[in-house]
Symmetry: C3
Subunit: 153 residues, 3 copies
């Protein structure tokens, strides 16, 4: 959808962006998923202590995970919810949201196995957005101690 | 809510439509739920291999399931999320979303037991929408092999 | 975000309100969370039979729960979804939604343990909203018998 101007429109636009982006990942279309990050995009996960720098590294990591998941005959799903969107400098957006990760083996039962909180920096791109920085904090890391828990550094 | 014109408004409108529609089903108001489908609406579930044609058949199937659930003293909940809405021909909309199904027996614990992906075709109706075609693919069917997994045929 | 005028904007605004409000609770910032209720706000939970009257009582109850959760080293998450927003008299809004509650112990696994339906009455406050009445019905209370299940009285 083209970029609406109203806050309501913007909020819905970001919801739709995440739905499209995440569906690419859950379908194993990892290159298209990685293309929703900037060339110099950063993806970091607290707990795992993983920090990926650049679209290529993000794509390679996702590909590896997707291949393993496919080999197991498992369908993964990522749900994002409880979204907050804030305007930042230079037309960027800050998006904070909860994430759930679940998987279902072919012919098997659902396991909802991971809860996390995430923060993205989104930058305008054509009539949409790209993620320039994503920080994910797994709930297993324990209750937040600070208001800016997004750096794993 | 009346039909807004902005993409943001439309996206929110469809979210609200699904909230209202699904609440009808979860409350066992299956005739009202079925009335949110067109008279010739199609409801198909991959895996179960079920294909229902027409509002009456959709209502009868939902009634049967709701009665069984009520007899068990179970409260079911359907959550839809990760929504994408696309404009199709003739003013129709294509809506793709994830679905979670869960249940709680009276006095018992929650079980989140099913994850699926769904695609609806929505047609304008008065100041709202009706579902003319719904395809649901349970994750247990295994990872998607195609970009158009919506037909069980 | 400031209050938009379009239905779509309003719907998104309420989604964002709940995201912000709930994040405060999940971070243990219970006084700020309680400040999103009116001074004479009512918070009632069917099943638990708990009825809290007034912001102070709501804050005290939340503080007690948050301290216990923190002492256990557990991260709680509240997800709201399937939102319906209706206009009521005097500029108030009625919001009906589903709620999921989950927790993850530090270094442990996720447990999604509670499903509920909730109804709020929201009153305008500056350029946002406050909750004047919240009723939560746990699914373990059993299937709804009425269309107005919100009073525990």
């Amino acid at each position: 959808m083209s970029r609406p101007l109203s806050p309501g429109g913007l909020y819905a636009e970001i919801q739709a962006f995440y739905a499209r982006q995440t569906r690419l990942l859950d379908r194993g279309r990892t290159d298209e998923w990685a293309a929703t990050f900037t060339e110099d995009g950063v993806f970091e996960e607290v707990v795992k202590g993983e920090r990926l720098e650049g679209r290529e590294a993000i794509a390679a990591s996702a590909r590896k995970r997707a291949d393993a998941t496919a080999a197991e005959g498992v369908q993964r799903r990522h749900w994002f919810g409880m979204l907050e969107v804030d305007h930042e400098a230079d037309g960027r957006l800050g998006a904070t949201y909860y994430a759930l990760v679940m998987s279902t083996p072919t012919g098997g039962g659902l396991a909802v196995y991971l809860s996390a909180e995430a923060h993205d920096v989104l930058v305008p791109h054509h009539d949409g957005w790209l993620v320039s920085h994503r920080s994910i904090r797994h709930d297993a890391a324990g209750p937040l101690e600070s208001e800016a828990p997004w750096s794993s550094a």
